[in-house]
């Protein structure tokens, strides 16, 4: 059985093509999903890619969360389907209530675009099993509203439950609380992060191929489920 991962396109999405390419690099079939779709075309997992859905009007992700396809994603995610939100996708998952907290404007107001080192803090999620514990990976980060915010109790709970999946190392690019770059749901099936693993899957086109491990991890999770 070939695993199939849906990649959603909203008006204003930018990184759906790269996300689909990353999925294919991991020998997974990439299925295009449109924001107006009312079904998920039978996919086994979903990537919510980066960009500026609906122009980031109101707040980043605030309108996308109400797209018809997101209602299906929320239902499926609550049932355990793996979901990865990258950048604007992370913002959408937070707005949709699938992940706690929110992303706010970078502390120095600059749009930050650079290659960024991250430490993988949890290698048991559906999207990170291919990494060694504590591995440091180099992937691009590019956002204007990437500072992760949550109240202290939520941050403590995330840390205590091992739900901080990625942390910035070598400098926090945006003022994220506790250098948090990515977090997961309680069951580890839903992961959101601001940096872009899909842009780092081949040394020819990115700073490294460190991001490919996330998609290979999903392959393992889906094939393990099918076996």
């Amino acid at each position: 059985m070939t695993a199939r991962i849906g990649v959603i396109t909203f008006p204003g999405t930018l990184d759906d093509i790269d996300a689909a390419r990353a999925v294919k690099y991991a020998d997974i079939e990439a299925v295009s999903l449109w924001h107006g779709d009312h079904d998920l075309k039978g996919v086994d997992a979903v990537v919510v890619p980066g960009g500026f859905s609906y122009g980031d009007y109101l707040r980043a992700g605030a309108i996308a969360r109400f797209a018809p396809v997101m209602a299906k994603v929320v239902d499926a995610a609550r049932g355990g389907m793996p979901v990865l939100g990258i950048c604007n996708g992370f913002q959408i998952l937070c707005e949709a209530g699938l992940l706690p907290g929110a992303l706010v404007r970078n502390h120095k107001l600059h749009f930050v675009c650079r290659d960024q080192w991250l430490r993988v803090e949890n290698t048991s999620t559906a999207w990170t099993t291919r990494y060694e514990p504590g591995a440091e990976i180099l992937v691009p980060v590019k956002n204007g509203e990437g500072a992760y915010m949550a109240d202290e109790a939520t941050l403590d709970a995330l840390e205590g439950d091992g739900r901080v999946v990625f942390r910035y190392v070598g400098g926090n690019p945006n003022g994220s609380r506790r250098d948090i770059a990515g977090i997961s749901s309680r069951d580890g099936r839903i992961v959101g992060l601001m940096p872009h693993p899909e842009h780092a899957i081949d040394a020819l086109t990115g700073p490294s191929d460190d991001g490919l491990g996330m998609f290979l991890s999903a392959l393992d999770a889906l094939q393990g489920a099918a076996a």
Partner: protein, 79 residues
């Protein structure tokens, strides 16, 4: 029809870099004495009389603001 105003502000404990940038610009422009600026959003809604306060609160809390980072105030204003 009635006019309803919804003001959305970043929570006090949330860093507001936009407001800080405005505050820092004021002395450079020759305006002294402003010690702090917080920047938020102001919505003006034209609503039917059938829209009750509960519904307005749901609109403000569930869509116009993000309760994780923002507070809101809903006001009905006289025409």
């Amino acid at each position: 029809m009635a006019k309803v105003v919804v003001d959305v502000m970043p929570k006090p404990e949330i860093l507001d870099p936009q407001g800080q940038a405005v505050a820092r610009a004021l002395p450079r422009l020759g305006f002294d004495g402003v010690s702090d600026v917080r920047q938020g959003k102001h919505f003006e809604l034209e609503v039917d009389d059938s829209v009750d306060d509960d519904t307005l609160a749901k609109i403000a809390e569930g869509f116009l603001s993000n309760p994780v980072i923002e507070d809101f105030v809903v006001r009905r204003v006289a025409e």
